[in-house]
């Protein structure tokens, strides 16, 4: 970023497609008007003109630069407006910001990924990034949980992942519906199914705070060390610049020092799961 760039000013991106992933979740396909690239796990500030902006981690591959995808759950004021947008309009982008997943540190290791709900969005981007370097990885296991089968997003992703060498993907739901023949229960129950070489593995957790909390506790019980667990934190990252203070979590500005942290970095910080 050059010194004279106005850090508060977004650039425009054209909304070219809106994909309905679940009743509450949509993926927005955007073509930026400026050169744009990001590291997987970094986030952007995405704005609806005149309404507001909110932080999202792109769910698309970091290798693809001509367009990006952002998966958004309808949960607040700005996201409600987003869900009403139709292709053809322009949205605003600032970023990318923060520290993403340290993919190179995963080389030579097994990567266990725990995802919950809309937390699969950043994970999908990570999975694309890991697929690009699969020769350098031992194994990638995805365990994903959603409330019901209809809340499960990226349905074709699971079939595709299970066809890729070294990749395994498992799903569970809190409450089954007719026709569901996969696991039922919270996401940590899937951990009983997977075979992991704990001596050579890292874990990634992304999802709602309650799932992150219990996911991390379970991983520690399994024997993961605190610096082998990577957490993607969700706070009120408002400016993305380490200035506005809304995302402070202890000494950290989540927008600048995160959003990806190891559990070791955060374990002494109060209220991380709130």
């Amino acid at each position: 970023m050059t010194i004279d760039r106005n850090i508060y000013k977004p650039f425009r991106a054209k909304l070219t497609d809106v994909i309905e992933e679940s009743p509450l979740i949509k993926t927005f396909v955007l073509v930026p008007e400026e050169e744009f690239s990001f590291n997987t796990g970094q986030f952007i500030e995405l704005s609806v003109d005149g309404i507001g902006e909110a932080p999202f981690t792109p769910s698309s591959s970091p290798v693809v630069t001509e367009k990006l995808e952002v998966t958004v759950m309808k949960t607040g004021y700005v996201t409600e407006f987003m869900h009403n947008l139709k292709p053809g309009v322009f949205m605003g982008i600032r970023g990318p910001y923060g520290r993403g997943y340290p993919v190179e540190k995963f080389f030579g290791k097994e990567v266990l990924i725990l995802g919950g709900g809309c937390g699969l969005a950043p994970i999908r981007s990570l999975l694309y990034a890991l697929e690009n370097v699969k020769d350098k990885l031992e194994k990638v296991i995805l365990c994903y949980g959603s409330k019901t089968p209809s809340d499960c997003i990226y349905k074709p992703l699971f079939t595709r992942l299970n066809k890729i060498e070294k990749f395994e993907a498992y799903r569970t739901v809190d409450k089954a519906e007719e026709g569901w023949n996969e696991s039922v229960g919270v996401v940590t129950t899937l951990l009983n199914k997977v075979k992991i070489n704990l001596k050579n593995s890292v874990a990634v957790v992304c999802g709602p705070p309650i799932m992150m909390k219990f996911g991390t506790i379970r991983l520690l019980e399994m024997g993961y060390k605190d610096d082998e667990i990577y957490l993607s934190m969700e706070k009120n990252m408002s400016c993305g610049l380490g200035k506005c203070g809304h995302c402070m979590m202890g000494e950290f500005f989540v927008c600048k020092h995160g959003p990806v942290f190891t559990y070791k970095e955060l374990k002494e910080t109060p209220d991380i799961w709130k």
């Binding site: 706070k235 610049l241 380490g242 203070g245």
Partner: protein
């Protein structure tokens, strides 16, 4: 330190001439105390020198309460801000680190910083809640302001602090190196007297890093006790020379308006999903002090509390943070 001097009459005339090319703000006495005010030819003689801090802090000269941060910068008339106490100068050091950060420079802040000549003022005397020295901040500036001004007898004495200050003074032929060196001892005597007052009025108050250690170990009980009278008005943060949190508000055309915010307001950390780590009032109250004494020092070199005492004066609930710190210090001893 190099000292120059000029007679008070000539200095007042110099300021009047400077009004043609500069906008000047200086500390003037009004009904509510000392305040930064716009200088005009008729109030130059009423400028107040060497009195402790103005009611509001320096920060709003650089971080306006509300501004459009997507509009073009129009360089205005150059500014002189005069009479700044060292607590405000020390506060600016932290704002510089945050807003002139190498990765994300705020161009509006930078423009205002570059456009302003800062003339600090040595404090001769203290106000009830002044405690800068407890945090190792002297009641006079030796860095970060361009010049320091001292009014002694019929003289205005100027201490050169930066090369920019030196250059600024070089345009005035009547400002000459100070001949009478005994005046330096007189200034130093005033410094010592103010320091002695600060020490005696803040006896037992823990230092900056000591306060951080005490807060780190403080239980919920003391936060609940002291926040019982907090009404979340945010006055403490608004008036603080280092609190600079803000909101970004969207306007049509992808414009952004930046507005000063305060962690004492409900919903400050609330996320769209509803989680709010600072939902309870005592958590918000604790947050401000933890930020100042524990968390900011982990990431920034300049102190995040300069001991100006304005938050104590501004509090609607009459909450005195120093009483809280003294209680913690007493409990530990």
């Amino acid at each position: 330190m190099q000292y120059l001097s000029i007679t008070k009459d000539e200095w007042d005339k110099t300021l009047e001439r400077l009004l043609l090319s500069y906008t000047i703000f200086a500390t003037l006495r009004n009904e509510s105390g000392i305040e930064y005010e716009l200088v005009n030819p008729s109030n130059i003689t009423r400028i107040s020198y060497n009195k402790p801090k103005p009611v509001t802090s320096l920060k709003t000269f650089f971080l306006p309460v509300r501004e459009n941060v997507t509009s073009a910068i129009s360089p205005g008339k150059r500014r002189i801000i005069m009479g700044i106490p060292n607590c405000d100068i020390a506060g600016l050091k932290l704002l510089d680190e945050i807003y002139l950060d190498k990765d994300f420079k705020d161009i509006y802040y930078r423009e205002r910083r570059e456009n302003s000549v800062l003339i600090s003022s040595d404090c001769f005397g203290v106000q009830e809640h002044c405690h800068c020295l407890t945090y190792d901040i002297k009641p006079y500036s030796t860095s970060n302001s361009d010049l320091a001004v001292i009014h002694l007898g019929d003289l205005i004495i100027l201490r050169i602090i930066t090369s920019r200050g030196k250059e600024f003074l070089s345009q005035f032929s009547l400002v000459k190196p100070m001949k009478d060196q005994s005046l330096v001892s007189e200034i130093e005597k005033e410094h010592k007297a103010t320091e002695a007052l600060l020490l005696s009025s803040n006896k037992g108050l823990p230092g900056y890093s000591e306060t951080g250690k005490l807060l780190r170990n403080a239980g919920d009980e003391i936060w609940r006790k002291y926040s019982a009278k907090c009404v979340s008005c945010g006055a403490c943060a608004t008036i603080c020379p280092t609190c600079s949190c803000f909101l970004l508000i969207d306007k049509p055309g992808f414009e952004k308006v930046k507005q000063l915010d305060a962690c004492q307001y409900p919903g400050f950390e609330r996320v769209a999903g509803g989680e709010d780590a600072l939902f309870e009032i005592h958590r918000r109250f604790r947050n401000r002090y933890m930020c100042k004494y524990v968390w900011k020092p982990e990431k920034f070199k300049p102190v995040a509390c300069t001991g100006c005492g304005r938050c104590i004066e501004a509090c609607l609930g009459r909450i005195n943070k120093n009483e809280l710190f003294l209680e913690l210090a007493l409990d530990r001893s």
